[in-house]
């Protein structure tokens, strides 16, 4: 096992060259290049903003997908990590004046801490407890951060700062005043996160994760401490969800208690499920579909001629139907079938 890994690293350039030669590799590179040059071809802050959201959600969806798809631990409270990291980042940039990347890391660390608090009791047990325990935790945090009386207490203890209350934390400075710099920073962070995830699931640890997902009893019978690995997976997932949360706070220049709602956990699930569970690049595609379809639906909702449909073009309503249909009829998601179609067409074009 160790030797093959070593081989891979020593043959790094040729390994990459082989990967690029495959259809998947080409498609990924083209998509990444396309994504990278967006801010250089358009100045439209609306479009750049949508792409920023898409990249942040990609990290978020991938972190959920990693935990659910590869380790088999379904969390319904990923909003916890998004919210905690968002609050930490917003608080430290706004009130402590720390630079954005320190705030981002601090937020991710807080998310890791919370993933320990949530994960350790819940992971001692199986499936249902984790799902509902995480959901319960996010609901409680939502109520906690919404509390006005706690906000007054906090303001008395630390004058001049606001943490609890319906308004949340606003006026968070962005990563940079120049949109392109912010875009590139988010882009690079997203690429790094996706790279880490892809390598992680291919590594030896990733194999153990997949073994736990497929047969937990068998894995622990092989002498592997499954609880340790499950907690490790929870920490990794929490860290990246925290990164996404920090970026979220920086990109939307603020957070409010709403980020703790089950809604945001739902976002992660729908993005991962649309792209296909247990596929990191699927999470990216899912996030793309989610963000852009959501934006289109929002624009449709504003058109007065479509008022006959009432509020039925509301994004979350449509997405909940979409999620039910996808899980019910196409558990593979859309990425794998789509890639196969595309590859067939590509081969046809090349005359293979």
């Amino acid at each position: 096992m160790k030797e093959t890994k070593h081989d891979k690293i020593s043959n790094f350039p040729s390994y990459l060259r082989d990967w690029i030669k495959t259809f998947r590799g080409k498609a990924t590179i083209i998509c990444l290049i396309g994504l990278g040059i967006i801010p250089f071809i358009t100045n439209n802050s609306y479009i750049i903003g949508i792409f920023n959201t898409f990249m942040i959600y990609t990290i978020f969806a991938a972190s959920w997908d990693f935990l659910a798809g590869y380790v088999g631990q379904v969390s319904f409270g990923h909003a916890i990590f998004l919210g905690i990291a968002g609050y930490t980042t917003a608080f430290s940039t706004r009130y402590l004046g720390s630079p954005w990347w320190i705030a981002l890391l601090l937020g991710a660390c807080f998310a890791v801490g919370f993933s320990l608090i949530v994960g350790v009791p819940a992971l001692r047990l199986k499936g249902p407890y984790l799902a509902l325990g995480t959901l319960a935790m996010s609901l409680i945090l939502y109520q906690l951060f919404l509390m006005g009386s706690l906000g007054i207490l906090w303001e008395n203890a630390f004058p001049g700062t606001e943490l609890f209350g319906t308004d949340g934390i606003g006026q968070v400075p962005p990563i940079s005043d120049i949109p392109i710099v912010q875009y590139v920073a988010i882009f690079l962070i997203m690429c790094a996160s996706m790279l880490i995830f892809t390598h992680l699931v291919k590594s030896k640890t990733g194999t153990i994760f997949k073994a736990i997902r497929d047969d937990e009893t068998g894995t622990s019978a092989s002498g592997i401490n499954t609880t340790k690995y499950k907690i490790l997976a929870f920490l990794i997932s929490g860290f990246f969800a925290g990164i996404a949360g920090g970026l979220y706070a920086l990109r939307f220049s603020g957070v409010n208690p709403g980020v703790f709602q089950p809604l945001y956990s739902f976002y992660a699930i729908i993005m991962a499920a649309v792209g296909g569970i247990a596929s990191i690049s699927g999470a990216a595609l899912g996030a793309f579909i989610f963000v852009f379809l959501g934006e289109i639906l929002r624009l449709l909702g504003d058109i007065p001629q479509l008022a006959v449909f009432g509020g039925f073009v509301e994004p979350i309503f449509i997405f909940s139907i979409l999620l039910i249909l996808i899980i019910r009829f196409a558990e593979q998601g859309v990425l794998k079938p789509m890639l196969e179609r595309l590859q067939n067409m590509w081969d046809l074009l090349l005359g293979r």
Partner: protein, 289 residues
């Protein structure tokens, strides 16, 4: 002081009996089918909003019509959920949980589109109150107590004595063996979900006048039901009844004597404490781990 004590006892009892209805259905579905129904709160929301809609839109008899239509429709929807969504996905545990989670969102959005997303209040069945040891008790409370306690007794009787109830218990013990004995497991599971939806709907129409009508109330219901079954033991019916009253009294106690805001935190404290100290709950079976 004695007023607060009496209020705490009365409100705790009322809330406990409502929670018992909700948690019993939730626990039953888990115990019989191993199905973790995230849409349990959605049943409550459906019943609440049908009730509210009928009350507003049907003149004169809207209140009672809403109650009856709400309970019947929710029960049917519970059966449909099983047949259309849960049954095809029974093999994948994750699929069931995600689908019911999505359904809960679907319901939350649907009611806020069709009705609206503002808070509403509903009148009591019989308005007015009587004086008991210096404390005003609404007639509604008495109705809640009588209906829910008798329903709990009926369900227990049904599960233990009737043929259908015995089949439900058989499926809960071993669904494969039960199907070999000629029990249609799918039908039993559909009935179980219908019972669960029915109990949630009854709880909704009784309790909504005391609380408020809003699309997101379902999540709180789900949270409390989960805390109760973790306390009592997932899948244990006596456990869910005891757990319901313990949780309700704990919430009422913090509400009246400590701080109303903290009462919202009781469920999570219960969940975390139980998961750490005694994961199988007070009455849970040992193999649930």
């Amino acid at each position: 002081m004695s007023d607060a004590l009496l209020n705490f006892l009365i409100f705790g009892t009322i809330q406990g009996s409502i929670y018992a209805l909700l948690a019993m259905g939730f626990s039953l579905v888990y115990g019989v089918g191993g199905i973790l129904n995230q849409a349990h709160g959605a049943f409550y929301v459906i019943a609440t909003y049908i009730f509210y809609w009928c009350f507003v839109n049907i003149p004169q008899y809207g209140y009672y019509a809403g109650m009856i239509i709400g309970i019947i429709a929710t029960t049917i929807i519970g059966g449909l959920i099983y047949i259309l969504l849960i049954k095809p996905l029974k093999e994948s545990h994750v699929g069931v949980v995600i689908v019911t989670f999505a359904f809960a969102f679907f319901v939350e959005r649907l009611v806020s589109i069709v009705v609206d997303s503002i808070y509403h209040n509903m009148p009591y069945i019989i308005p007015g109150s009587f004086n008991f040891l210096g404390v005003n008790i609404q007639y509604q409370y008495i109705i809640i107590l009588i209906v829910s306690l008798s329903l709990l007794a009926l369900i227990t009787l049904f599960i233990n004595k009737f043929k259908l109830g015995k089949s439900i218990r058989a499926v809960a013990q071993d669904s494969e063996a039960a199907s070999l004995m000629g029990i249609n497991v799918d039908r039993i599971l559909a009935y179980t979900l219908m019972i669960s939806a029915f109990l949630a709907a009854v709880a909704a129409v009784l309790y909504v006048p005391v609380e408020t009508v809003a699309p997101h109330i379902g999540w709180n219901i789900l949270l409390n039901s989960f805390a109760i079954v973790v306390l009592g033991g997932l899948g244990s019916l006596p456990g869910s009844v005891v757990g319901a009253f313990v949780l309700a009294y704990a919430r009422a106690f913090t509400n009246y004597f400590i701080d109303p805001v903290l009462s919202a935190l009781i469920p999570i404290i219960v969940i975390v404490l139980m998961l750490v100290l005694r994961p199988r709950g007070l009455f849970g079976k040992k193999e649930i781990n």
